[in-house]
């Protein structure tokens, strides 16, 4: 396995893995909450061009954010550092990676021709609105959340609020969004994003099949 490309975002060092080289349209893969770029190795074979996969801060071989402070926007800054390195790239994101892909596709439409959003861990966050009855008395990070290769404090990206007007603003500026819920329940931000004009829905049930469908069009 080759050494990852080292990038910097703020005070944290990031690992960008080149899963496959070559010429053609680049793909940047974004993993789910608590996962790593490794989770993309198999599925990304469905993409015909060069493939890169990022370890978000706090995950895999990227640095940890001292004292916590993980937010989807911070992770979007991670993905933006990778995009700056790659130039232009299609995005494929799972779970929190899908939400990050939405934010980045809406922020850098000139560099993101398409973004594939897939259901997975960290997709819903803490919902669209504060839940007044949510149990907030527990310890943070929750003791039951102990990912094998991630900082437990990344759990903050599983409880942040994702209002629908916020998601919609990014969806409306994205060039092309492709959504595949893989049969999972769609959170409110996803439903809102799905109403935007640039969105296509895919019936495919696996990341590899969805990626192949994205590559065909």
């Amino acid at each position: 396995m080759s050494e990852p490309i080292a990038l910097r975002h703020g005070r944290v060092s990031l690992a960008l893995h080149e899963l496959r080289g070559g010429a053609g349209r680049k793909l940047l893969c974004l993993h789910a909450l608590g996962a790593t770029s490794e989770s993309w190795r198999e599925a990304s074979r469905a993409w015909p061009g060069p493939v890169f996969a990022l370890d978000f801060s706090g995950h895999g071989r990227s640095g940890r954010v001292r004292g916590g402070g993980y937010t989807p926007e911070l992770l979007t800054g991670d993905a933006d550092a990778a995009l700056a390195h790659l130039g232009d790239a299609a995005l494929a994101g799972v779970g929190i990676g899908a939400y990050v892909a939405l934010l980045l596709a809406g922020t850098r439409p000139e560099h993101v021709p398409a973004a594939l959003l897939l259901a997975g861990d960290g997709l819903a966050g803490g919902g669209a609105l504060p839940d007044p009855d949510r149990d907030r008395g527990g310890a943070f990070p929750p003791p039951e959340f102990h990912p094998a290769d991630a900082d437990p404090f990344v759990a903050a990206c599983g409880i942040d609020l994702r209002p629908i007007d916020y998601a919609r603003a990014f969806a409306e500026r994205a060039r092309r969004l492709v959504l595949a819920d893989l049969g999972a329940d769609a959170p409110p931000w996803w439903v809102a994003a799905a109403e935007s004009a640039a969105v296509e829905r895919l019936p495919e049930r696996t990341p590899a099949a969805a990626l192949a469908a994205l590559a065909r069009t």
Partner: protein
Amino acid sequence: MSTSEPSYPGAVAPERSRDFESSGIRLRLHEWGDPDAAPVVLCHGMFDHGRGFDTLAPLLAERFRVVAIDARGHGDSGWADAYTWMNDVADIGNVMRSLGRPCHLLGHSKGGGQATEASCQYPDLVRQLVNIDGFGPSPEGFRPPGFEVDPRSLPERFATYLDRRREGEERSWRAYASLDDLVARRKRQNPRLSVEWLRYFLHFASRPVEGGLVWKADPYAAGGFGPWKPEWANAYWHRLQAPMLAVIGSERDTWGPLPEALLAERLAPIARLERATVAGSGHFCHMERPRETAELLLGWLER
């Protein structure tokens, strides 16, 4: 130290200052009073620091163990790699838990909002809560004098934020030639605070560098980006079990108080609420009127 410690009428330096580790970040705690007395934990506002309580704390210390926190990235506490509201709230919880018995909790401005949230989140740790003018921003947000609202769309503003982060260089404060320049800067923002007090308070908010003084606070401490709505300010406050004393100053100021109708709306979910107004004070009751504020608190806080 190149400069000697300043003095200010009524200000007493902490009797003990110590470090406390919270979620991997070193926090500086300043203490006054009998270590065996009931604890009162003090939480400061944005870009302030724990020594801002140097005039209030010694008056409370006659009856309490007073513990003022330098929030992460502020005062003499360590810097984090990123800052969020929930981390500050968790820090407050960690400090209270370490004191070994339920606390009285007091916060000012942003620290008041965070103290309120910590009280909702850790009900077993809080006996009574004092919130000094920390009831969330108005729907228009906090605006320093002269600040213009950015009319661009959310993604366009986020692009600017990401552009700055791409630049990759460590953000830093410019150096001010002298303490008087720092005082003048802050005085423009908070005209009600006296020059004499600001000379004292900002001495502890700054550190010497080549060419003058810079703020000690981490330039990234206010640097986040994310969704927020005014109606989220009090979204969890119906869960507050401890009684709250809601304090405002009588005078209009840069950051408060909120218009009465809005303030009443924000406070509506609080089950055990008392309200008080410090006469002749603006937003910074504990700095502008420490004696009156202490008298109010000593009359309300249970021993």
